[in-house]
């Protein structure tokens, strides 16, 4: 079986869950090799091996941390050129999509973005995508070059397949463009104990109906009772009630959890684009005509300030 390159998404060596999903998917279409860029490879190797990486390519160079996108594209393209993989899987983050885009241009390869599933097909990897605000499912495959596929979080359940990967340090010849965009400063986002939005099995979101930053605790308490992530509509984010990194929708994060609870959210098309593929959808809204109710598996027409606290209490009672 051919080698499948999997670009590792990590924070200082802590591998993020979508990478484990990619390794799991890669095993369906070939033999996964992880491509680790930046610092912390030692810490990551064991995890990558546990999820089936046969090999780990490591590029530890300052360029990768200090400049935007291009050094990572340089590294991935160079490794791809020497390894001639059967496919390249990249996490569908903003950076991941752009790295994929540049490598595609460089290798003359086809690119498929935001796959929600990848399987082996007659003509190489077959992908599944949700398009047009998740109203359509599209099956596609790459027809030219090495298929480059960016894969959304939650596309697969990570499965262990322990291996002891061979580690290969790669020294990359960076392009002149690599140092073009400098990251002058970074401000880490506040850490929370809640699961990440894209990775959570359950997301509880609040919208304009929450009516104030101080009221978001009503949403957070239900989230905590369920071990869920907290989301927000753009209206709530724009009002400054909750950080932008929690925005669900077309221009925020697209989530696909087992359960999505929308409280005080009307269900505009742009919001639906980010949550419509959730397995089970529940809404609390005081307007019985709110479009969100067209999507729900269960809905409560009522005041979220009455329903949500009662829900929280009831969840805690049943635990």
């Amino acid at each position: 079986m051919g080698e499948i390159l999997v670009l590792v998404d990590h924070v200082d060596g802590a591998v993020r869950k979508p990478t484990l999903e990619l390794l799991t998917l890669a095993r369906r279409i070939g033999e996964p090799s992880a491509v680790f860029l930046g610092k912390g490879a030692d810490a990551a190797t064991e995890t990558l091996g546990r999820y089936g990486a046969q090999k780990v390519y490591v590029v530890d160079a300052a360029e990768v941390d200090d400049y935007l996108v291009v050094p990572k594209a340089d590294a991935l393209a160079q490794i791809a050129e020497s390894a001639s993989p059967a496919a390249i899987l990249v996490p569908s983050s903003a950076d991941g999509r752009e790295i994929g885009a540049r490598v595609a241009v460089r290798l003359g390869s086809g690119l498929i973005t935001d796959a929600v599933d990848v399987v082996a097909g007659e003509n190489g990897p077959e992908t599944e995508q949700s398009v047009f605000a998740a109203t359509y499912q599209v099956r596609a495959h790459v027809t030219k070059g090495t298929p480059i596929i960016t894969v959304k979080p939650n596309a697969a359940t990570p499965e262990e397949a322990p291996a002891t990967p061979a580690v290969e340090a790669v020294s990359v010849t960076f392009s002149a463009a690599a140092t073009g965009t400098k990251i002058v400063a970074t401000a880490a986002r506040e850490k929370s104990d809640r699961p990440e939005l894209t990775e959570a099995d359950i997301v509880v979101s609040g919208g304009r109906g929450v009516n104030g930053a101080e009221n978001f605790v009503v949403i957070e308490r239900v989230a905590d009772a369920l071990g869920a992530a907290v989301g927000a509509s753009r209206a709530a984010v724009d009002a400054g009630w909750y950080p932008h990194s929690h925005q669900v929708g077309q221009t925020g994060t697209q989530v696909s959890p087992q359960l999505y609870i929308a409280a005080g959210i009307s269900g505009a098309i742009q919001h639906r684009a980010g949550m419509q593929t959730s397995k089970t959808i529940v809404a609390v809204n005081k307007d019985e005509d709110a479009p969100i109710f067209d999507l729900v598996d269960y809905g409560v027409v009522g005041d979220l300030f009455k329903v949500m606290p009662q829900l929280e209490e009831e969840i805690n009672k049943r635990k």
Partner: protein, 259 residues
């Protein structure tokens, strides 16, 4: 200096969008308009000029005949002129093909700064700015929530995947801006009248020295095997809270094994 703003003409996101039999987007049965997210790109380009940077603003679109509508709307908001690349052989181009056409047209027009939207509202790949930058061999500064240009340097702030980042690059460069950069202005009546007199240059593949077999559906780097409408979600039970709404909801979640 020269600013090129890339704008796309897309099927209205609020209508029922769909596909043609060959897997390309159906652009016939749904009204199209200037991609909402590109209005933010136009607004930022106009603001850069208003901040005192001396620049000429050119809008660029690759699309069918009626894509000119997108250019008219952009010109009504402000700016100087527009380029419309249209050719029967372009139909069905994917991101790699479109980025080639855009890059050639940008080179032909001349540029110091290329401004894009964060993603098109139909393709929604969010990859063209990076592809254009790659083809032009210039830096990319993408997904900016704030932008400024000063002394030949473009600076901005973006929400990266794990942290908020301040980034900068020397011009020439390609940037993309988000819907958090600030609401776009509405074209004024005066603007709409003025736009009618602004030049729109029409180009085809020959003008850009692109072979017709390099782009279009047949040259596409990927192919759609099937496009199926997702079955509409069937509306489940909706109850009215009469004091027990939270308890009823909990019972539903418990039945579904979430609690």
């Amino acid at each position: 200096m020269k600013i090129v703003v890339c704008v796309k003409y897309v099927p209205d996101a609020t209508a029922d969008r769909g596909f043609n039999e060959d897997g390309t987007t159906d652009r016939e049965s749904v009204d199209s308009l200037l991609s909402e997210l590109d209005e933010y790109a136009i607004e930022q380009a106009l603001q850069i000029v208003e901040s005192g940077v001396e620049a000429e603003i050119t809008y660029l679109t690759v699309g069918p005949d009626d894509a000119r509508e997108a250019l008219r709307k952009a010109l009504a908001m402000g700016g100087d002129k527009a380029i419309h690349v249209s050719d029967d052989d372009i139909q069905g181009s994917d991101a790699l093909g479109t980025s080639l056409i855009l890059a050639k047209a940008i080179e032909k027009a001349g540029f110091d700064l290329v401004v894009c939207g964060m993603a098109s509202t139909d393709g929604a790949m969010g990859v063209l700015p990076a592809m254009i930058a790659e083809r032009l061999g210039v830096p990319q500064v993408t997904y900016l929530d704030e932008v400024s240009v000063e002394g030949g340097v473009v600076k901005g702030r973006r929400e990266g995947d794990v942290a908020s980042e301040t980034v900068e690059a020397s011009l020439p460069a390609v940037i993309s801006v988000t819907d958090r950069t600030g609401e776009a202005r509405f074209p004024s009546f005066k603007g709409i009248m003025a736009a009618k007199k602004k030049p729109v240059e029409e180009l085809d593949l020959d003008d850009l020295e692109i072979d017709s077999d390099e782009v279009g559906l047949s040259a596409s780097w990927s192919t759609v095997d099937a496009a199926t409408a997702r079955p509409a979600r069937t509306k489940g039970e909706v109850v009215t809270d009469e004091g027990e709404g939270g308890v009823q909801l909990a019972a539903f979640l418990a039945a579904k094994k979430f609690i």
